[in-house]
Amino acid sequence: MIYRETGQFKATYDADQAIFPIAQDRWFVWAVMAVAFLVIPFVIDDYWAAAVFLPLLTYGLAALGLNLLTGYCGQVSLGTGAFLAVGAFSTFKLVTMFPEMNFIVVVLLSGCVTAAVGVVFGLPSGRIKGFYLAVATLAAQFFLVWLFNKVGWFFNYSPTGQITMPPVSVFGFEITGPSATPAASYLFCLTFVVVFALLAKNIVRGRIGREWMAIRDMDIAAELIGIRPLRAKLTAFAVSSFYIGVAGSLYFAVWLGAAEPTDTFGIDQSFLVLFMIIVGGLGSVLGSFLGAAFITLMPIVLKNTMVGGLGMEVVTAKHVEISLIGVLIVFILIVEPHGFARLWQIAKEKLRKWPFPY
């Protein structure tokens, strides 16, 4: 009854092609935006920023990037951790080499560097498909992390091999470093995420996105109708890596502040982000964020209930947590292999008839 598009007439092509053609969706999005921009910054504190919102935003952006590649173009990549590392290390190098450069430009440039690296490691996709390609992207994962560990230039020859983010301000607000306010860091990330989510929404319904989806559904058929497979795949790798690079930049600079290649950007990160898009829903922008929310929040909830609620020892809780995460993932895959995005879809369809289903 409430969620019903009856009576919403569209008089122009623009209105017909709007991203959210149904008014209720539009209001919902505006409401979420209002809460995210106008309410959360005033109530956020250090714990919530570091434990919930910054991980949610950065992982959400990374998941969105991977979803463009895997969900829309059908190319499975296990190199996300390494691409995050490329973004992070480019940010570090750019900030230390050109301290006066605007940080927004730094983040975007880091994305561009990652896009270039992504294209190079996407080249095998012209020849290799499916699981062989997924394993081939592991080459990127291990090679890049090794590179960032071994070549001193990348971490400015610091004796520990760690990279640490110097404090940086944007428009007079400090957003990185220990004295940055959580609200400023949060808003900075949020702006990036919103802009890029909007961009992604538009890319995937435009020409490029349709090319990707054609390749995903059947690459030979796509080739026959005149789509150049290699170009489509490489654009997917480029755009996806750009997103992941930006996410990596924010992940390192704003959220963590310091990073070390092996632990921070290991293969676990690749699997984690892949989990997010599978649980959230392949080929869905919204799903990327739902998945990111689930995967980042679930361990916190589990840990708090087990250590805080049940009084379990921290070490035991850690092991139980790993098993439970595994169980939950298998459970979700069994119950809803198309992810939360599909659940959301089903919920919307049910809502149209609610409360008088016929």
């Binding site: 095998p124 290799i128 498909k129 394993v135 081939a136 090794w146 071994k150 092991h319 993932i329 292999p337």
Partner: protein, 310 residues
């Protein structure tokens, strides 16, 4: 022979032996992939799990001793562990595989990573996460005969190679000459056709996962005897992946030959190239090597030819 030549041959031999170890893990992957179309990332953790279980049956530190005050002899421990792996296979089929029939390969892959998490957590809770020296009486140290002739060859590696050879032979005979083996091959060939001639798919899955569990146990014993039973054992799954894409996901000989190529290539590169670029290249070298092969044969050396139709 000069020292360099001897050293070169020693490196090659040790590479071959490492390759055998990789092949043992890759073998488990191939078995499961053929039967259920699932790239089982949990194979490495299964090896860890099996080794941990075996350790607990036979070692005085294990909880069998703590609970009942005795330990099993090695042979009984191995039989019991095989039992554990069969129960595990049955549970996996019951709780997971059965519900995931006809899903996309990537979903299955993710589910197997979930399974790896579960096994890892449960293994840690049940058996503890400290390094355990597994000793089941495989002799260690240099092989005397070769040592007298100026070579250094590890005895354990020889045993591993012998065991791997026996295992592959047994598997080959099993696949070719028994009724179950024929059913397994039928399932690998075409699920629906196999179903329609009355093969029980679910029983086959339990059998295949049990066989993969036994292979994992062998791999776990070998790696465990070499470097102790510890969490890093589960990471050999990551070493087996390049072996698989090199050899082809569907081929048992591919897994063996792929393992040997990767083992030798990796060891040679680590010894002769590694020092010039800062070392530790064995983490990625295998992948790069596999990638080079893939450019010429996208389905791996022995993989089935990919025929695509619109």
């Amino acid at each position: 022979m000069s020292i360099e030549t001897i050293f070169f041959f020693e490196t090659v031999v040790s590479g071959l032996m490492t390759g055998v170890m990789y092949a043992l893990v890759a073998l488990g992957f191939v078995l499961i992939f053929k039967a259920s179309g699932l790239v089982n990332f949990a194979q490495g953790v299964m090896a860890l799990f099996a080794a941990l279980a075996l350790y607990d049956f036979i070692s005085p530190d294990g909880w069998v001793y703590a609970l009942f005050g005795f330990t099993f002899p090695v042979w009984a421990g191995i039989i019991l562990t095989i039992g554990v792996m069969i129960i595990l296979a049955w549970l996996i089929e019951r709780l997971m595989l059965q519900h995931l029939v006809k899903q996309e390969p990537i979903i299955l892959f993710m589910a197997s990573i979930g399974l790896a998490f579960v096994l890892e957590g449960v293994g840690d809770i049940l058996f503890g996460s400290d390094v355990k020296p597994l000793d089941i009486g495989i002799p260690q140290g240099a092989w005397d005969w070769a040592f007298d002739h100026g070579f250094y060859v590890e005895k354990l590696d020889l045993y591993a190679a012998a065991v791997a050879a026996v295992l592959v032979t047994v598997l080959a005979v099993f696949f070719h000459s028994t009724r179950i083996g024929r059913a397994l091959r039928a399932v690998a060939d075409d699920h629906q056709a196999a179903l329609s001639v009355g093969i029980n798919l679910r029983t086959i899955w339990v059998i295949v996962w049990s066989v993969a569990g036994v292979v994992a146990l062998v791999a776990g014993i070998m790696w465990g005897s070499k470097s102790g039973v510890q969490f890093s054992l589960s990471l050999i799954a990551l070493k087996a992946l390049p072996v698989l894409i090199l050899g082809g996901f569907t081929s048992v000989p591919g897994a063996i030959i792929g393992g040997l190529i990767i083992g030798v290539g990796e060891t040679l590169a680590a010894v002769y190239v590694g020092p010039y670029v800062g070392g530790a290249i064995e983490n990625w070298f295998a992948y790069m090597l596999a990638l080079v092969f893939l450019f010429f044969r996208p389905q791996g050396l022995f993989g089935e030819r990919i025929i695509e139709r619109v």
